[in-house]
Symmetry: C2
Subunit: 245 residues, 2 copies
């Protein structure tokens, strides 16, 4: 069961990944559920050094962008479908937020299938969450047209490391019976207690000079200021791409 053993791979062997293999995996991945079988996604497969160099700073210079043989940008895409409608005298009403949400959903299901299949094929992947931090930059570099939007980036290569799997919450804290079960404050503390107890997390608290792990998240890693600025940038990019009419 590959999924059970999954870990993020950030170090890759200096070894190419066959183009046909990537395409076969993407073809199989496209068996994921899709809204009305519209397949509202594209993938940009970047291998050229020049384009990677332009992408790298937009991903905060995470080294995987340059070191992975393949960088896949998964793009929510209502452009292809809308062009077909336009050519068919059909009034394509997909320049709105619901349609973006549908395309983003299609794209992420397809993307996760690809990751599972890539791992089954012996490849390692890293999901770059930075994709939506600076969408306008990625849109420019990848020349993404109207009614498309980058939602995920996966770096792919043969693994050159085998890191420990990170902790996960107890699944019973994620599952709610019949309706959402609001728990007590004490329960919330219990849910995160294991994470707080981990030596590496205690270390983060110490080196950042914080009182606790939650403050490492809110004050260092994912701050209100950054989140608010990036929310603004994401909404502006959605508008520019025609998804907020």
């Amino acid at each position: 069961m590959t999924i059970k053993e999954r870990r993020t791979i950030r170090k890759y062997k200096v070894m190419d990944v066959d183009k046909t293999l990537i395409h076969d995996l993407l073809a199989t991945a496209s068996r994921a559920a899709t809204m009305g079988n519209m397949q509202l996604y594209s993938v940009v497969e970047t291998r050229s050094k020049t384009v990677k160099e332009a992408l790298a700073p937009l991903h905060f210079n995470q080294p995987m962008v340059m070191s992975a043989p393949v960088v896949l940008t998964f793009v929510a895409d209502f452009n292809r479908f809308t062009r077909w409608c336009d050519l068919s005298d059909a009034d394509a009403g997909y320049d709105n937020f619901l349609s973006f949400s549908n395309a983003m959903t299609d794209t992420l299901l397809f993307c996760q299938n690809f990751c599972t299949l890539a791992e089954e094929a012996g490849l390692g992947t890293c999901f770059l969450g930075t994709t939506v931090y600076n969408p306008m930059g990625i849109i420019d570099v990848l020349k993404l047209p109207r009614l498309t939007f980058p939602v995920a980036t996966i770096t792919v290569g043969y693994p050159d490391e085998n890191p420990e799997q990170p902790d996960r919450l107890d699944i019973s804290d994620v599952i709610h019976e019949d309706v959402y079960q609001t728990v007590s404050d004490a329960d919330i503390r219990k849910i995160f207690a294991y994470k707080e107890s981990l030596p590496e997390n205690k270390h983060f608290v110490e080196i950042n000079n914080k009182q606790n792990l939650a403050q490492v998240f809110t004050d260092c890693r994912y701050t209100r200021k950054d989140n608010e600025a990036m929310s603004q940038g994401m909404l502006e990019a959605l508008k520019k791409q025609g998804f907020l009419n």
Copy 2:
């Protein structure tokens, strides 16, 4: 390779699905990539007839909601993490659109992993795209608190049908080399020609009295009017849930 053989299952045997099995599959699914290991999701596992009856009309009375033994609503969830921050004197800045997008992404990767694992375990699933059509209704029924939002619903049961797999686009029409490749109008027509040629699609054109398949999508299935109204509803629900500050 289960993914290659995947089909949507809408008819289920009258046969319960073990709770432990569902929980084990969800635990394994949580190995999916997650933003900063925050695991920004919850799952509401609905088995009670009363709650299903309340959900059914919100999913346009698709019969799977009542006939499947298990209905899983996958919920983007920044509530749990924010409560932990609040209890830790940490300023949680997650009441914004970027944070919603991050939570939606975490949730959909987790959801797709669950679907793959469920199918490997011999279960059948159906992805209900209707979840975001009437989020406010689902929020009410499932009592979803601030900073949570339903993004996907999966009905689960043992398959009582084995339908044909639907068509998919040629993967080469989905993949773009290095940057997005804008194709000609003739190419766009070619991309959708196979879909247009299928007997069932010709039948839809005929019974709906339309000129072509694109018009079936734009005038009957996914209309501008519906999309715009539902976009409005989705944005209002995001605001109500605290994700648009």
